[in-house]
């Protein structure tokens, strides 16, 4: 299912812990590296998928999703929209539960493929920003999180 609401995003971020990041860069100032480092700090395991590197942020790097032996919860994509369809096929093959397309990435065919395979699909959102939005960090820097609630916050710091 393609999801975009706060409740579903919270559930996805809570239930899933292992993220394969396709297109993760080794360079510290790239958005993908920022996201990976952030997610590691919040206890996620980030497995890099990138044919150009041996390892990134202390994790062995794999050329393709299919090369990863461990179970994958989320396939988080930092690639151009045009190349997402084969990644969706691989994600399905790996039995990942979530296909997550980062900011600016859209591909209807890939989205529908993954959704039909029973995956949750998130489009045009950053996993780091959504985590920070729904679990605290963005509250510190004036970004409108759109979270309205009278329940005690569950911020993590």
């Amino acid at each position: 299912m393609i999801v975009d609401d706060i409740q579903s995003l919270r559930r996805i971020l809570k239930e899933n812990r292992t993220i394969a990041m396709v297109g993760l860069s080794e360079r510290w100032y790239r958005p993908s590296n920022f996201a990976a480092k952030y997610l590691q700090e919040y206890g996620y395991r980030v497995i890099p998928v990138n044919p150009n590197y041996e390892s990134i942020l202390g994790e062995k790097c794999y050329p393709r999703l299919e090369d990863i032996a461990d179970p994958i919860d989320v396939v988080d994509v930092f690639q151009r929209s045009e190349v997402v369809v084969p990644i969706a096929h691989s994600a399905i093959k790996c039995s990942a539960k979530v296909l997550w397309l980062q900011l600016g990435i859209f591909n209807q065919e890939a989205e529908e493929l993954a959704a039909q395979a029973g995956m949750d699909v998130v489009v045009n959102r950053c996993m780091k920003i959504e985590h920070a939005r729904l679990f605290g960090g963005l509250n510190f820097i004036g970004v409108d999180t759109k979270v309205i609630s009278s329940t005690r916050s569950t911020w993590v710091s």
């Binding site: 958005p31 820097i141 309205i148």
Partner: protein, 429 residues
């Protein structure tokens, strides 16, 4: 469950704050602290690199200020905000985030006097030039744009003339030239007008006015819409590694809140106009009743405007909510809930009559502020716009016999009574 689009009244009360995670406190706590502990050396490094979000030092961020920032961003229907120490600082930070020596601003010429001085004098000293245009004719903005121009600047309701601009026409010009439109929304507040809905890109506020609502604190805030394409080629400093902050590329790294991150990390951090968390607390208290207050401010202002228009000691009244105003059509389009509560009027008999009027009021307060719960009157030519010579005063919409009134929330009959007796006194030699 689909996310609900909450109404502005709900946002006034709730946006930006959840009950405190430790104590359950419903009201935002005042985090009166200069700094925040790091969990480890690595945590500190990630925070400074902006790889993780968190608090470092209150000059840059503070949890009470952050509630205020987020609430203002929500109310303006923008993406993110930065709170600063005054309205003047909000403009300064908003502009310096995208301007450097050699750059140029095209601004409406009808501006708060301090803003005019900031642009025309202080910025010129920094090598940033401004051209001031008559904003009644939107094409004037286009005509003044040069290859060095980086933004257009207007007040949603001009201080003190209460003139309006055709936002959509001006924002269209800004878009055609790949420039952001910055709007000072102080007089209107997001309750009466949200400039982002008409194509503005950045909003600045003096929070000292209606946002505070009770005249207790000085403060300001800037908000970005999140919609401006900073990668359009005109803003290399949003794209290239920041010399001022660890080589971060603000737009690439933070996307639709990259501008406010740059404002916070490059300008607020190094120029230092930080808002006190206590002031944020008072602004949040103010915002909780913004919607109720603004409705009553507008209601009282309409009555006052009509009263003044019919008073024999008054030569003219400038309030966009009057049928006789040249801006009446723009009010219908951009300010359906009313055109705020600030108006100016001319007293028969010139400057001396203005002085007698000011000295005769009984409870209307003679002071240089506006947007207070109390009714305020001032003679701009001798106070707020005094730094300008007579020609510049005229250009800014200030006439020698002009009184500006910010209509408050007292009993309306009492406001009219005080105005009436002071106007009568103004005519006695």
């Amino acid at each position: 469950m689909a996310d609900r689009e909450y109404g502005i009244e709900t946002l006034c009360l709730h946006a930006g704050q959840l009950p405190d995670p430790v104590t359950g406190a419903r009201v935002p706590p005042i985090y009166q602290t200069a700094a925040y502990v790091f969990d480890s050396a690595d945590h500190a490094a990630s925070l400074f690199n902006l790889q993780t979000f968190g608090n470092i030092y209150t000059r840059i961020m503070n949890p009470t200020n952050a509630v205020f920032e987020q609430r203002m961003a929500a109310l303006e229907k923008g993406r993110a905000g930065v709170a600063v120490s005054s309205g003047m600082a909000a403009q300064l930070v908003a502009l310096l985030t995208i301007l450097q020596a050699g750059d140029h601003v095209v601004s409406a010429k009808t501006l708060y006097g301090g803003t005019h001085t900031q642009l025309a004098f202080n910025f010129r000293k920094l090598g940033i030039d401004a051209t001031f245009v008559d904003s009644d004719v939107p094409d004037n903005f286009a005509a003044a744009i040069t290859p060095r121009t980086k933004c257009l600047y207007v007040e949603s309701i001009g201080n003190p003339a209460s003139n309006l601009v055709d936002f959509e026409a001006v924002s269209e010009i800004a878009r055609e030239h790949g420039l952001p439109l910055i709007v000072d929304n102080t007089f209107a507040t997001p309750y009466l007008c949200r400039p982002f809905e008409f194509g503005a890109d950045i909003v600045v506020h003096s929070a000292t006015k209606f946002i505070c609502g009770h005249g207790t604190s000085i403060g300001g805030v800037l908000v970005e819409s999140g919609n401006f394409p900073w990668d359009n080629g005109n803003f290399p400093t949003m794209m290239e590694p920041s010399e001022g902050y660890h080589g971060i590329r603000f737009y690439e790294t933070f996307g639709d809140f990259g501008y406010t991150m740059k404002a916070r990390c490059e300008i607020l951090r190094t120029f230092g106009p930080t808002l006190s968390p206590f002031n944020s607390f008072l602004f949040l208290q103010g915002l909780e009743t913004l919607h109720v207050r603004m409705d009553r401010h507008v209601e009282n202002a309409k009555v006052v405007a009509e009263f003044l228009e019919n008073h024999s000691a008054v030569e003219w009244v400038s309030y966009p909510g009057l049928m006789s105003s040249p801006y009446f059509d723009l009010v219908q389009k951009y300010f359906p809930k009313g055109a705020s509560a600030i108006m100016s009027f001319g007293i028969r008999g010139g400057v001396e009559s203005c002085v007698r009027f000011i000295e005769s009021v009984q409870f209307l307060s003679h002071l240089a502020n506006l947007g207070d719960a109390k009714t305020l009157v001032v003679h701009p030519a001798s106070t707020t716009h005094r730094q300008l010579d007579e020609e510049a005063q005229k250009a800014a919409g200030v006439q020698p016999n002009m009184i500006r009134i910010s209509v408050g929330l007292e009993t309306i009959e009492d406001i009219l009574w005080d105005l009436d007796q002071a106007l009568d006194a103004s005519q006695k030699l």
